[in-house]
């Protein structure tokens, strides 16, 4: 290896500073389960509830090191409309289960800007 202080190649800086992080997912809950969402911390604990939130807000659909995720089968797993994912079943060990779908370019109505959305479809507490 050369002892020269001259280093012809080095990492270039991103113009304008660090690139902006991708915006997270907006999280929605089905009206029929909004009461259960309100009690999610009491039922599964703050840490587990926040871990679920972090999962859906950043990486919905991807594997989680702390929860088991299954894609539901048959008609229960079908996307609710074009652009939505299949139904993902997130299982918090012994504490609860949450089904959700996500959309990477959801535009609410004709004038809404496309944005990333997670829709929580069902919530249940306790083990099976």
């Amino acid at each position: 290896m050369s002892n020269s202080a001259y280093t012809p190649f080095g990492p270039a800086r991103h113009p304008g500073g660090k690139p902006e992080a991708k915006p997270g997912y907006r999280v929605l809950v089905h009206k029929k389960f909004r009461n259960r969402w309100a009690e999610v911390v009491d039922r599964v604990g703050l840490q587990q509830a926040q871990q679920f939130w972090d999962h859906v807000a950043a990486t919905p659909g991807q594997k989680s090191p702390i929860a088991s995720i299954t894609i539901l089968k048959g008609k229960a797993g079908l996307p609710m409309a074009d652009g939505w994912s299949r139904t993902h079943h997130y299982e918090i060990s012994g504490a609860g289960r949450i089904d959700y779908q996500y959309h990477n370019e959801y535009a609410a109505g004709a004038v809404g800007d496309p944005h990333r959305v997670v829709a929580i479809m069902t919530i249940s507490f306790g083990s099976h």
Binding site: V29, H30, W53, K73, D99, T122
Partner: protein
Amino acid sequence: MEHVIFQASDLAKERVRVLDAARAGRAVVRDKDGTGLVMLPESHLAVLEGYARWSQTLQRLNVLVAAERQVSVAELGDLAWLRVFDKDDQRAFSDELHEALIAGLSDEDLSAVDEVVADWKVTARQLEDPLRRSVLLGATDPDDFVEAHKPQG
């Protein structure tokens, strides 16, 4: 692959060769009364037994799915958990199970079959509850959703 047929006396005299053949897939031993006995790896036997069991189940399921009438829980037996699904979904399960069995036998590993069954059972449990069922199988619209707030302590 050549299959050597060993004699019962080879179990003592040719023990290593018999075991090597068994490890490689199968060792056939002809007993004194002419009965053929087979020694094979335990994992291979487990795949064959699992394949036979699931094939039998699949055959029964296909008959039930093809029936024009509503099938009773008693007829479903150990597949009673499938009662929450309609015929289309039961047929989809049957097709997936069939594919997983064929692949599993070829790979000598039935773990894909276990995964298929486990995933369908999870789905069945979600559909047992009427409220969850109404959302998962109902005509859900994006307008049915409201903003969820981050869980706070």
